[in-house]
């Protein structure tokens, strides 16, 4: 079955010793901190910490690939901001007719640290955590089970859809549909493959809804869990620590 997630099970502490909910707290705190952290040294420290955790989880290589994916965009940010940022006053250097300003470069640097930190923290979460387990944990902490159901079922639906796309594509190709040609022809091929898949998955919605109804999906009882995942010791402390650090960074930001 095709995997739609970047998660790979591994036997590291980050994967197995930290529970999914704590890693979700880590991600959310990191996003807030990436925006709030007021100095470059702070942002750099945060990045080192994130990369350290990724190395611990043995996912450094895949994470760096993900970060490199946004490198081109980051480079153009430096160029455009360095040249044209409205706040540009202080000339940093001149390359022929091109004037590069300090304000723009500093602005681009702030943004780059923010983006790379968010991506790195996301990698920690995404690559080491089973999405099904995250939803399970969230439902235990009070997320409505229906919301948990929605997210979990996406992981089941996408592979089913991709299988049906492959089947339709083969059928259409055997009837002479081409996957190349000019944009218009390719757009037609898109419709020929995509249309039937969408219609059939929409039609199955009613069956699925009935299947849920007959198994108590709308029952108003408090639900229970078939599989039990105990939260490792010390995780509550870790969550509290993450929240405290985040609050401290926000206060630091407001004070500076």
């Amino acid at each position: 079955m095709t995997s739609v997630t970047l998660y790979r099970p591994r036997a590291t502490f980050v994967h197995q010793g930290v529970d999914p909910f704590t890693k979700l707290v880590y991600l959310l705190c990191s996003i807030v901190m990436a925006f709030a952290i007021p100095t470059f040294w702070g942002a750099a420290g945060m990045l080192v910490l994130n990369l350290g955790v990724l190395a611990w989880a043995r996912e450094l290589k895949r994470s760096l690939q993900t970060i490199l994916g946004s490198l081109l965009l980051l480079v153009t940010i430096f160029v455009i901001q360095g040249l044209f940022n409205p706040a540009n006053r202080t000339l940093l250097f001149t390359l022929g007719p091109v004037h590069v300003y300090q304000e723009g470069i500093l602005f681009a640097l702030t943004i780059s640290f923010r983006v790379v930190n968010i991506i790195a923290a996301s990698c920690v979460f995404v690559m080491t955590t089973s999405p099904a387990r995250v939803m399970d944990a969230c439902v235990r902490y009070g997320l409505p089970p229906k919301a948990g159901y929605v997210v979990t079922s996406i992981m089941q639906i996408i592979p089913t859809m991709l299988t049906s796309v492959a089947r339709i594509r083969e059928a259409q190709q055997s009837r002479g549909m081409s996957m190349s040609g000019n944009v218009l022809q390719r757009f037609r091929s898109f419709l020929a493959v995509f249309g039937p898949m969408v219609l059939s998955s929409l039609i199955s919605i009613q069956d699925r809804a009935i299947a849920l109804e007959v198994r108590g999906f709308s029952a108003r009882t408090k639900r229970t869990f078939y599989v039990d995942h105990p939260v490792p010791r010390g995780m509550v402390l870790l969550r509290a620590l993450l929240l405290l650090v985040t609050i401290a960074v926000v206060v630091w930001r407001l004070a500076s």
Binding site: M1, A132, P145, G148, Y149, T152, S153, Q156, I157, P159, T160, S204, D207, R208, A209, I210, A211, L212, E213, V214, R215, G216, F217, S218, A219, R220, T221, K222, R223, T224, F225, Y226, V227, D228
Partner: protein, 280 residues
């Protein structure tokens, strides 16, 4: 166990009565087969036993449907699934879509109803043993064969311990091996004393497992009797329902018979009797 009185139903945004004044009763532990041409209202009737009509589809309903002493029209869906289980055609569409192993899929309904974890374990053990799924518990439900999937679908409603199980064309998407698996499962349920209602086009298989047959045509209940008497009726040809070929063969031999045999076994017996009575 099931008591239906004067059930009439119309879907929303429609004027056509899909079920017209249906009255029938089913005894505890009985297996009732339902046959009828396409569009006769068989699925709608199944949905009415479960409460999907009217709670899911809405529309206009009159008459009463009492299952296991509970009025279906007055009860919430969350209550009904403790009394009635429904299984339908396409196995894959019946999976919750949220579980990655067979046993978790089967336990989904129990989780929704808030059953405690010891009972949950016990029920899953019971139902997987009953339907021969014990070896498949850790498998991904989407990677099973059609017959296995349909047994998982049956298990996942049966695990709620309903008194009545309704199967709406449970084998129409299955090959002969899968069909045999499903009917073997139905026999196992009969041994457990579960009251069963089956809609099925494969009429020869149906008559082997049912004590009575109901014929639905155009929303009306045309006949409700033992298979033998139903298929002996003179108007049976006009219902648009397949008649077991044994019954047809026997009728050719003995046009006046008021109770034709419907299964191979019965036919052999009757042919013996027939031969004896016509020899002397």
């Amino acid at each position: 166990m099931i008591r239906v009185r004067g059930l009439t139903y119309t879907y929303p945004n429609s004027d056509k009565q899909v079920l017209k004044n249906i009255t029938l009763e089913v005894e505890r532990g009985e297996t009732l087969g339902i046959v009828g041409p396409n569009g006769a209202g068989k699925s709608t009737f199944c949905h009415a036993l479960m409460g999907l009509v009217p709670h899911f589809y809405h529309g206009t309903i009159s008459g009463e449907v009492i299952v296991n002493g509970v009025s279906v029209v007055q009860s919430h869906m969350g209550e009904m699934c403790r009394h009635v289980g429904l299984v339908f055609q396409e196995p894959i569409h019946q999976f919750s879509g949220a579980k990655l192993t067979v046993e978790e899929e089967i336990a989904f309904g129990l989780e929704n109803l808030g059953v405690d974890s010891a009972t949950m374990q016990e029920r899953v053990d019971w139902v997987t043993a009953l339907l021969g799924l014990a070896d498949l518990r850790r498998r991904n439900p989407y990677e099973l064969s059609g017959g296995q999937m349909q047994r998982v679908a049956i298990a996942s409603v049966l695990v709620l311990k309903p008194q009545v199980l309704v199967l709406d064309e449970p084998t129409s998407q299955l090959d002969p091996a899968g069909t045999a698996e499903v009917f073997a499962a139905i026999e196992a349920l009969r041994a457990e004393g579960v009251t069963t209602v089956i809609v099925e086009h494969k009429v020869e298989l149906l008559v082997e497992h049912c004590s009575r047959i109901a014929v639905l045509v155009d929303g009306e209940l045309k006949a409700l009797d033992t298979p033998s008497r139903v298929f002996s009726r003179a108007d049976a040809e006009h219902w648009g329902v397949e008649i077991p070929r044994y019954s047809r063969a026997y009728r050719a031999l003995d046009p006046a018979s008021e109770s034709v045999p419907t299964t191979l076994h019965e036919t052999v017996e009757r042919l013996r009797d027939y031969e004896l009575s016509h020899r002397g």
